[in-house]
Amino acid sequence: MGEPVLRVRNLSKTYMQGKIPVHALNDVSFDVEKGEFLSIVGPSGSGKSTLLSMIGLLDKPTSGGVFIDSVEVTKAREGDVPKLRREKIGFVFQHFNLIPTLTAFENVDVAMRFARVPKSERKKRAVELLTQMGLADRMNHKPSELSGGEQQRTAIARALSNHPAIILADEPTGEVDTKTRDMIVKLLRELSEEGHTILVVTHDTAVAQQTGRIITMRDGMIESDKRVIIDNDIEPASTHS
């Protein structure tokens, strides 16, 4: 494989809790290839959400760097961050985070507006993505009229709209039932098979087991990094401790 889509290098983040420093991330490094379907697991407080925020440019690391498509995004100037977020990253959240006043179609459309995509192109793309998500007949419904699974599929369509390098999903199945969960995971896996790079943060082992690679975090560090083979045979990729 060529250049990794995502390179995380010696990433550390220290928060101050009063006068006590808290090391949320401690020298984390790993690479993700294009088309990988990867999960980051670990108990709460292990640093997985912090890691996701750093990759998603929602927060700045104390030291180390994140490279997406060979660009060191953590070094980007404040004014360039929105552009990088638009072009490189698609977010899928636990609480779906759709704009309640907009329909499913408009929620997908709005992400492309920020990227200044022309209207006709936006419409075509939104319809195409929502159809792909099986929401062709739900497009003009507001989030409140959609089921959890439908809302999350809308959010996935939105995340895909600007052709991002990576999809970051934070507990994407945290608020849906198991049947919907399986459907969403299957959808994400299909997307990775189409070449999308997908990074899922979860503490649901059933979800993690269906991804191609599991990074386990503990105390701000990577405890293990394992590749998962189709029949659930686990083979170590590399191990950090």
């Binding site: 552009k83 977010f91 309640p100 920020f114």
Partner: protein, 383 residues
């Protein structure tokens, strides 16, 4: 982006509606007060321009009832630089009124009509002529108020100055002419011959004031001083002094307008700011999400500010329309009673709308800043 703004806008209809209503009320006040002040200043402007070339000569003790003997007119006329001088008598048409802003009976020597009214034309009939006794030329408002035309009669009552009651004379005057609308105090004038006025009001040979017409190319300021020095017991108002004095009294109207505007500004902008802050904090998550989706700071500022500006514009339009409607009906009502109080000039409309929009934009600044500064992390964590 505008459909998004409109949508946010229409989400909270009641709150947005109330805010717009608040601004509209403020602008309504600006329009009504401003209309009044505009009317007064145009009226004063027109009145001054009609008399701008003449020096007013008044009795020295300018209290009510103090009067000037008509002989002063010839004294004034003798002064070098004065081409003509004549006395005028002024009295309220309704002797019971205080004489402020109401219709006035003005006694003018008939042969001086042209000098007094300058280029004011008559819409019907003729001007006064020598030998007209109980005949009158009416201002346009008076004619409209009493629905009078040439040939009709108008009843004039007189009363001894200073006395509370006792109408001394009642007399019908025949209308011989009606003046065009001038926008000045002449619209409320009932012009009668000076000698008839003196007789009718029992004023003997006295007049209210003398108007001195300067020779062309004479320095009116200097001439006014010369009149004061050479004629006993008079004081003069040159056109410039008159203007200054009237403008001073107009300051009060300007102040009323200004304070209405300032009040409207404070109330309106506070309510816009309140609404926008509420709406921004309610949408914390939405703005955070938009930033996570890659919205630029300027996208968010644009959206928030436009929402506030839209409230201002709508409030402004509604205020102007409401104020305009009220003024229109009020003027219609007042016109039937012979006076007009408001004029809504294009300038006033433009100022009001610009003002309302600026209010919206200014009070939207801080909420927009808050929205734009929101960290997507914090916003998304916020449940």
């Amino acid at each position: 982006m505008f459909d998004l703004i409109i949508r946010n806008f229409s989400q909270r209809k009641l709150r947005t509606g109330l805010t717009i209503f608040g601004i509209a009320l403020g602008i309504f006040a600006v329009i009504v007060m401003g209309g009044m002040s505009e009317h007064f200043s145009t009226m004063v402007e027109r009145s001054i321009s009609l008399t701008a070339d003449k020096i007013r000569v008044l009795p020295e003790v300018g209290l009510f009832g103090a009067s000037l003997n008509e002989s002063k007119a010839s004294d004034v006329k003798r002064i070098p630089g004065v081409s003509d001088a004549y006395g005028m008598l002024q009295s309220p048409l309704d002797p019971e009124s205080l004489g402020f802003g109401g219709d006035m009976v003005i006694g003018i020597p008939p042969d001086k009509m042209g000098s007094v009214l300058k280029d004011t034309k008559l819409t019907e009939g003729r001007s006064l002529a020598a030998g007209d006794n109980y005949r009158t030329v009416l201002g346009s408002s008076v004619a409209r108020e009493f629905n009078l035309r040439t040939g009709d009669e108008i009843e004039i009552r007189s009363k001894k100055p200073g006395r509370a009651k006792s109408i001394t004379n009642i007399r019908n005057f025949t209308v011989v002419g009606v003046m065009e609308y001038t926008g000045s105090f002449f619209d409320g004038a009932v012009i009668i011959p000076l000698d008839t006025a003196q007789k009718f009001y029992n004023r003997g040979d006295t007049v209210s004031f003398v108007l001195a017409v300067p020779d062309p190319d004479t320095d009116t300021e200097e001439l006014a001083r010369r009149i004061e020095l050479n004629v006993e017991k008079v004081k003069t108002f040159s056109p410039a002094e008159l203007r200054k004095q009237i403008e001073q009294s107009l300051i009060i109207f300007t102040l009323i307008t200004l304070s209405a505007a300032v009040l409207a500004a404070i109330i309106g902008s506070l309510s816009v700011m309140n609404t926008m802050l509420m709406s921004v904090s309610e949408r914390t998550k939405e703005f955070g999400l938009m930033k996570a989706l890659g919205a630029d700071t300027r996208d968010i500022i644009f959206m928030t500010m436009s929402e506030a500006a839209l409230m201002g514009i709508l409030g402004g339009i509604i205020g102007v329309a409401g104020g305009g409607a009220v003024v229109y009906y009020l003027n219609g009502y007042l016109a039937s009673r012979g006076t007009v109080l408001f004029s809504i000039t294009p300038r006033l409309i433009v100022i009001s709308i610009v003002f309302a929009t600026a209010l919206g934009v200014i009070s939207g600044t801080y909420p927009a800043y808050r929205a734009a500064k929101m960290s997507p992390m914090e916003a998304l964590r916020y449940e």
